[in-house]
Amino acid sequence: MIDMLSNLPDEVDVLVVGMGPGGSGAAKRCAELGLRVIGVEKRAEIGAPKRCGEAISRHGMTERIGIEPKGPWIVQEVHGAIVYAPNGTSIKVDYDGPEGWVVERKVFDKHLASLAAEAGARVIAKTEASGFRRENGRVKVTLKSGNESKEVTSKIIIAADGVESKVAREMGINTFNKLPDICAGVQYEMAGIKHTGNMIEFFFGNDTAPGGYIWIFPKGRGVANVGIGIRKPWAKKTALEYLDDFVQSRPELKDASIIEVNSGGVPVGGFLTDAVDDNLIVVGDAAHHVNPIHGGGIPEAYMAGRLAAETASEALKARDFSKGFLKRYDKAWNDQRGTRLKKILKLREVIETMSDDDLNWLAEYLKGDDLVEFSRGGSGLVKLGKILMKKPRLIKLARKLL
């Protein structure tokens, strides 16, 4: 293999660690703004293995990621959703055209990384960054690829290293997740399912998926991602055991084939309000930038990466890489996205304390549009509060929302 590391510059403006959506968003924007940027990914293949249900909403795709949903990475248009309460009552959200897409993440993540490379970023797979040391206002980092290693000095590190989030921890921010703040996820990609259609499905219930939900996201031709996210302390077994029980209970899945198995953690406990330190900006899963209701984090990570790049560019102009200066990234995130996500978190905190009976009762009052509002953090809070006021036992909860 060519020695990729020796061809790298010794000094850069920004080193992006991790080339998932967050890293690619950051690297692309840095390059567009004229910064000298390297993006390293420790895995041999960007995007693989996936740790994801692969669904992205229209708003996420076109606004937060900001790309046209066209290309070989789109595998299925999503025309709506069906949400099942614990007793099977369903609520349907229907659209005339695509309001989201299921992507092939292995292809999609590589596409995002290629866009960064095209813009002028240097991207290197199978290269791990470690040993971060601050020296004379810069950061020295060791890059390792196989037997090769190289020291690189960078003014700013953008930590996009996902749920492991070791970079931030090495550089002074404790990003670890307490158990109720992280969903344990596991997923089968299944084939040979009779009807997959173009609706995404969600199943709720404290016996089905405590502290989370089960999803079926269609990928066309009888293929679908069938996955689960659950949380302790509500969960009594492993995520895999809950998922197996579900699959066994569904006639359409029981005899289908499993073509891939994935697992992962989804940091749903709310984003870090301090996601910067001297020479450091943290983005994406590493900073818990995830929608706390549905756990989607691809668009959030990409957007955070872009905002981080913009702050890095301003810092370079001002020659100030201090925490005090980089703080403007926290503010930008909060203004453009965080306020919304905080509302969504509040809503989830109310829903997660409800019993299955309460959820069944609630499902009778909700329409599809309400659920869309909930997941977007729109006017849903007040609406839900008003419904809960109808049931004396839930009035205390309702007050939290009103």
Partner: protein, 57 residues
Amino acid sequence: MIKVDTDKCLRCGGCVGVCPVSALELTEHGIKCSGRCTSCKSCVNFCPVGALSIKDD
């Protein structure tokens, strides 16, 4: 210390994100646990596929 069942582990790195003392690392060869581990069981309780347990020694 913890023990990793390498037949079960899917190398997702989720457990790394729940360790309060940064004792875990996801390497090319799977999950490695350092001597810093306090046997708090956070990772054991988290693992989606039940690949972790506490090693008594």
